[in-house]
């Protein structure tokens, strides 16, 4: 395999406005603005999200029990996350606890969804930057180039794993991408013995593939000193933030259930809360230059886009979930968590690029957890729903979407019609962190107005760590890719570099 191309030649440009378009490997419409000082160094950077759609308004006046099916239309990227957060909110609203088998099936389907999402992200979005290199030609720096570099057999395994994970979601949830499974108090159908046996076999395949993926990361990224230096460079992809994520009673991360645990910049527990109390802990700050709000820790307060102990920003993605955990609940993933933490200096890991490693550790956990759940015959109990008899008029549900913590909060009137909807999605939690990291990486890489395609891609590599999905963050579904980067000098003049002029 050829060596990755990590750096490329810089060019000084005298254009007035710099634009990188189209951006790549994210879902949504964003713009990065970089302000330069007189020397051509970076003064300030803004990562802007420029879409807005009124999903909350759309839901008002509809029967609240339709929400788990409506919310999957928000986004084709993490429909299961919305489906389950919504279903949990209805469990609370209708004051009903689902039977054990129903909860097990929900979590099993969700583990398959995490495998599907994480494998897709790692191989299609993240790995090309490392295997081919950040400065590799753009026409090569994609999943096809990746497969050409590492071999067709691995490509087949990637696609096969995705297909199997989709089929598991379909067998459990009725439909793979837009499930019709969760109901207030339980699920629409029980799992059959045939499904159990088939899913168990696939889960074993997933465990093996997750281990193989970790080995690939080890060989290609961790064994490359230049990459390791970039990952652990505190002046690039690194900032000190709070971290949040769901944990079980042992403080082990869980995708579906538990309490939200927040740790501070030293790894000390700062808060732990359930869905019903999220408003005591989380608030949202709008800023005039972005449609996407900035959630923050209410008890710290809004301090702006800054890191450190005074910052109210908390990150929420794979990196954060491993940081709020005191180990993993499954044995193989736990061993990987130990190796990850010992390599990177212990919790909390603040190196943003390490998120890709964390994502693979989570993939292994999801595969093992899926296997655990379907090995247990309790999942076959045909009693999968307790029928609700009351409506409290308000419910909240929290799950971990592949890209971070997701909160759904509804209120309904006496007829069960939606009156209020509030969604705080993972990409919103990470919005501030993306801005901070983007600024820091731009600052670290752009000097004297000298830029290159590799540098622009390294700036884009920031948001790929967080796997942002602006479809549901701003409740939009744009079809064209649209990221642009503008360099704006202190005198107000703009410089635009179009991606295709450089690449």
């Amino acid at each position: 395999m050829a060596e990755p191309i990590i750096f490329d030649e810089k060019k000084k440009t005298d254009k007035k406005q710099l634009t990188i378009a189209p951006g790549s490997r994210l879902d949504g419409h964003v713009k990065i603005e970089i302000f330069l000082d007189d020397k051509g160094d970076v003064d300030e950077t803004y990562f802007q999200v420029v879409e807005l759609r009124g999903f909350e308004e759309f839901c008002k006046g509809r029967p609240v029990e339709e929400m788990p099916r409506i919310t999957t239309a928000l986004c084709g990227i993490c429909p299961w996350a919305h489906h389950l957060a919504s279903t949990k909110a209805l469990d609370m609203m209708f004051d009903v606890t689902p039977p054990k088998a129903a909860l097990m099936a929900r979590e099993a389907a969700y583990c398959a969804h995490q495998v599907h999402s994480h494998v897709s992200h790692f191989y299609a979005l993240a790995a090309p930057d490392f295997v081919l290199g950040p400065a590799a030609p753009v026409e090569k720096r994609n999943v096809v180039g990746l497969i050409e570099a590492v071999g067709v057999e691995l490509g087949k395994e990637v696609l096969h794993t995705r297909v199997l994970a989709q089929k598991i979601q379909e067998r459990i949830g009725g439909r793979a991408t837009h499930p019709v499974h969760g109901l207030p108090g339980g699920n629409s159908k029980p799992l059959t013995k045939e499904d159990q046996a088939w899913i168990l076999e696939q889960s074993k395949t997933f465990v093996g593939f997750a281990q193989k993926s970790l080995q690939i990361f080890n060989d290609i990224v961790l064994a490359n000193k230049t990459y390791l230096d970039i990952i652990t460079n505190k002046d690039l992809y690194c900032h000190d933030s709070y971290h949040m994520g769901l944990v079980d009673e042992n403080n082990h991360m869980n995708f579906y259930d538990g309490k939200v645990r927040v740790v501070d910049q030293k790894g000390k527990e700062f808060a732990k809360f359930d869905a019903a109390h999220y408003l005591d802990e989380i608030a949202e700050q709008p800023l005039p230059w972005s449609y996407l709000k900035f959630p923050y820790l209410r008890k710290v307060g809004w301090k702006g886009l800054v890191d450190g102990p005074d910052s109210g920003l908390a990150r929420a993605a794979c990196l954060s979930r491993l940081n709020v955990s005191e180990g993993m609940a499954t044995p193989l993933a736990n061993a990987e968590w130990d190796r990850y933490m010992s390599t990177l200096g212990g919790t909390p890991v603040q190196f943003t690029l390490a998120t890709h490693w964390a994502r693979l550790v989570e993939t292994l956990y999801a595969a093992e957890r899926l296997k655990e759940l379907v090995e247990n015959n309790d999942i076959l109990d045909p009693h999968v729903r307790n029928i609700p008899t009351t409506n409290k008029g308000e419910g909240m549900g929290i799950v971990e979407a592949p890209r971070g913590t997701l909160i759904h909060h509804y209120r309904s009137d006496e007829n069960g019609m939606v009156t209020t909807v509030n969604l705080i999605v993972a990409t919103a939690f990470n919005h501030g962190a993306i801005c901070i990291d983007t600024d820091k990486v731009a600052r670290g890489l752009i000097k004297n107005g000298e830029v290159s395609p590799g540098i622009f891609n390294m700036i884009e590599m920031v948001f790929r760590c967080y796997d942002p999905c602006f479809s549901c963050a701003t409740h939009s579904l744009p079809g064209q890719m649209p990221m642009q980067i503008e360099l704006i000098k202190r005198d107000g003049s703009k410089e635009v570099i179009k991606r295709n002029e450089l690449e």
Partner: protein, 157 residues
Amino acid sequence: MKTTIVGLGNPILGDDRVGLLIMREVEKLYSASSKPLGDVVFQEAWQGGLLLLDQIDGFDHAVLIDSIVSGSYEVGTLIALTPEDFRETRHISNLHDINFGTALKLGDKMGHKVPEKLDIFAVEVNVTHNFNDPISPQVEAVIPRAAHEIAKRIFGL
């Protein structure tokens, strides 16, 4: 020949849903005809990229019906597209993983049975900004005509 007709779009998002609605009309026309049912599969797709590749895997002929915001045609115009236009439609390319052209190349390399024949249709639509937006009258009006045109071109109906 095993054929699939795929309507793409978001069912609750204004003009964005037009591909789904046309596909359903084509299905009605096909069902009402004397053509055999076995070899044609009608499907909905809410996103493109690798997920769309999964949906057309194993078919000899795939017909994709999407929406497009090109600005080059009047809203409500039905357009037949070439493979080079993959990135331009609203859903065929899933920006979150890979564009559809790349997905096809990938599928081919991996030994998937990628359809030998691809037909792509799109309706020029208004940019949809809000989930509360209704479907535009010009776009709604084209649905029956577009369905008849596609049914004629694909099935000779």
